[in-house]
Each structure stands twice: as C-alpha cells, then as structure tokens.
C-alpha cells in the first residue's frame, strides 16, 4: 500500500511538472505595398510574430479608459447583449463571440458596472467551455471580485490574463484559427464601441484613436490571412476586414520629431515624449469607418 501511494505521488509530481508552462522619424504611416500577404507567406509567420501581433491589438480597456477621460457616460446600448451563448453552433461563432464579449467585459469593468457583468461572464464561461478552454477562466474568483467591487485592478488583471492564457493555449495547440477569431472579435467590438461613441460624443482624441487603428489593421489582417480560405465563414470575415482596410487606405498618419524629456519623481522616472503623431482624416472618411464598423459588427452578431 505504501509503495503504491508513493508511486501515485511520483506520477502526480511528474504530471504536475510536465503540465506547467515554463513561460509565458518624421514620416508617414502607410500600409505595406501589397494589398494582402499571400496565404503561403502568412503561414510562414513565426509563432513569436503571431504572439507579437496578438499583443499589439488595442485593449478594449484602453478604449474604455479614453471614454472615461472624455467623461462619456456608460451606456448598455453598446454591449452585444443579443449574443446568446447557447445559440453559437460552430467553433467559429463561439471564438468570435468570446472575443466580442471579452471587449464588452473590459468596458463594463472599467466603468465598474460589475453587477451587470455577471450575465456576460456566464456567457463567456459557456463559450469558453464550448471550445474547451474553460479551464483558463477563473469564473468564481472573477465573479466574486465583480460582485464586491473592491479591487478593480485584480479584476482587470484576472480577466485580461484569462484571455491571454486562452490565446496562448489555442496557438500552442494548433488551434490558431480560434485564437485569431477571438482577437479579431475583441478588436471589432472595441472599434464598434469607439465609433458609436464618436457619433454621439465627437471628440478629437477619440477621432485620432479611430484613425490610428490603421496602424494595426494590417497586422489583424495578417493574423486572419492563413485561414481566409478555410471555410465560408472565414471567407466572409476576411472580406469584411479587407473592406475595412479600403476605408482606411487614404487616411494619413504623419509624425513630427522630438527628443523625450525625463524627470525623476518619487523614485521613478517620468518620461514625456515630444514626438507626436497626427491623423489626417476627413469627416467623410470617418463617417465611412463608423458605418463599416457597425455593419461588420452587427453582421457578426446577427445570427443570435
């Protein structure tokens, strides 16, 4: 009996160790010359490059933070509440909805509408379990933190960290298409949020942020490209992203040079960048982006 228990103990220790992951100028911005990266080329992207792209995508928390700086009040109308986790039949739908609701969760958390986030959390749980990544989402802790509103930072950390772990797990397990969908879902919902607020509360900072999305749109397309011929759902999504890119094509982002200014404060360093970026975007271009962002997002949640 003692020998058997010792054997189980050794097996458990080895299993535990094997389960653990060891890790975890003055000018103008233009899209790369080719309209899209050939599928064959995109497939050659290294795991590191893909991981980098996924990190580049604007966090919905940053958009929500900007809205708070602008003193834009919270509105439940921006949330994709029509998404019914029980009616997402394919893994494509589940992963995309997981991204969209993740962005909504970030928005709710930043505005401390944490009581309202319980429904979204339940949907996220169902969707995550649907694509077999539920183990990375500590729902009970996130729910507890949401309800007691005591520690927003822990809540943000746990929520964002769960998505980061899901993303990494999917990529490491040859399910990169689902990771790409999740990231695209997050971005599309963040873009929808920013553009809808812009319609109601026009603001130069938000206008710039919308125009600056040109910087990462190409990366987003790069992320989707290897899967664009996978099935009809991906074909349609890639077409939508290309349409978005068309709307951004003539928007200009220019830069002015400058040297950073640093000051020591409270044991740390405060650095102010004097280089600046400037977005040149007409009202018509902005209106077209608002329109296409709404169309794409609504098409994606319409089957609910």
């Amino acid at each position: 009996m003692k020998g058997r228990l010792f054997f189980i103990l050794i097996v458990l220790v080895l299993a535990c160790l094997s389960c653990r992951n060891s890790s975890r100028k003055a000018g103008e911005f233009v899209f790369p010359e080719a309209d899209s990266v050939p599928v064959g080329e995109a497939e050659k992207l290294s795991a590191e490059a893909i991981a980098d792209i996924s990190k580049n995508i604007t966090s919905p928390v940053e958009i929500a933070n900007l809205l708070q700086v602008m003193e834009v009040p919270f509105s439940p109308e921006y949330i994709a509440s029509s998404i019914d986790a029980n009616r997402q039949n394919t893994n494509f739908d589940k992963a995309l909805a997981l991204g969209i609701l993740g962005a909504d969760l970030g928005y709710l958390n930043m505005y401390e509408k944490t009581g309202s986030s319980i429904n979204i959390l339940s949907a996220i749980r169902k969707l995550a379990e649907g694509i077999r990544v539920g183990q990375f989402f500590d729902f009970e802790t996130i729910k507890r933190l949401s309800l007691n509103k005591s520690n927003l930072d822990s809540l943000l950390f746990l929520s964002i960290d769960s998505y980061t772990q899901i993303d990494k797990y999917l990529r490491d397990n040859d399910r990169g298409h689902l990771s790409a969908l999740m990231i695209i879902g997050v971005w599309i919902e963040g873009q929808y949020l920013a553009t809808q607020v812009m319609k109601q509360y026009p603001d130069p900072m938000l206008r710039d942020r919308i125009g600056e999305q040109k910087i990462i749109l190409n990366d987003l397309i790069l992320l989707a490209t290897p899967y664009c011929n996978r099935d009809s759902e991906f074909i349609s999504l890639c077409r939508n992203l290309q349409e978005m890119k068309t709307r951004y094509r003539d928007i200009r982002i220019t830069y002015t040079l400058g040297e950073p200014v640093s000051v020591e404060k409270d044991g740390g360093l405060v650095i102010t960048q004097t280089e600046t970026s400037k977005v040149e975007m007409t009202d018509e271009q902005l209106a077209a982006i608002i329109e296409v962002s709404k169309d794409i997002r609504n098409k994606l949640i319409v089957n609910n």
């Binding site: 940053e62 930072d153 600046t276």
Partner: protein, 143 residues
C-alpha cells in the same frame, strides 16, 4: 504512515493546482503598480547569464497610443542576480526610454511614459550587466 502519504498527496495536488493559476511574481508586480494604475499587460522574463551584453535579450512588441500615460513596473524574483531593466524603441529603432541610466548606473523600478505618438514599440528587457535573473514587467495605464 498511510495518513502521512495521503496528506502529502493532497499537498502536491494543491501545489499543482496553484501552479496552473497566475504567477505570484506577476501578481505581486501588478499590485505594486499603484492604486491609480490600471493593468494592461505583463511580460515574464527568465534569462540565464549573457555571453555578451551588447543587446537586451528579451524583446516584445506592443502598441502604445497617443494621449495615454503608461506605467512600466519592473519586479525581480528574490534569486535574481541583477535588477530587471527595460528599454523601449520606436519603429525607427530610436530609444524612447530606458529604466537604466548609463551615466549614473542607476536602475529605476518603474517608469511613467506620457505617450504622444501612437505606434508599435519594441520593449526590450534584460537584467543588469546581462546577469542571470527572473522577473516580471507589468504595463499599466495611469488615470
């Protein structure tokens, strides 16, 4: 004896489960960023001793946005030989900030960065003098 082994079994299982959750060093670093900081991302850095110290070894890209004040907090594991340092370069490979002051040899534990140029930046981490170390870099927004 049997009780002892069963207790030990549960203890090991507990360690395994806790190992699946977030890294304690990252958690500590997130919490040390300050009350006015909102967590965005973290980077876990584990490096052996460098053969040469010309370039910082851990590199990652991240988009930073205009009109945002970021805080980069660097934390070290107790057994690190040197302090974690961060150097950020823009897309033109120009250094925008460094937590290590080469003139004074001082390493800052955190840097607040007022970003006025949106773009994709390269975050470069290493330990002082290419030492062996384990650390976490946490990126937050300051409200």
């Amino acid at each position: 004896m049997k009780k002892y082994f069963i207790t030990l079994l549960f203890l090991v299982a507990g360690i395994c489960l806790s190992g699946q959750s977030s890294d304690p060093l990252v958690t500590r670093c997130v919490l040390s960023a300050g009350d006015n900081a909102r967590y965005l991302k973290d980077f876990r850095i584990q490096l052996g001793k460098a053969v040469n110290t010309t370039d910082l070894r851990y590199k990652a890209n991240m988009s930073l946005w205009k009109n945002t004040k970021y805080r980069f907090t660097m934390c070290n594991a107790d057994d690190s030989k040197g302090n974690l340092i961060l150097c950020i370069k823009d897309d033109a490979n120009k250094i925008v900030l460094s937590s290590f002051d080469q003139k004074t040899g001082k390493t800052y534990p955190y840097i607040d960065f007022v970003c006025n140029k949106s773009g994709i930046y390269q975050l470069n981490f290493d330990f002082e003098n290419g030492q062996q170390g384990s650390g976490a870099g946490v990126v937050s927004m300051i409200r």
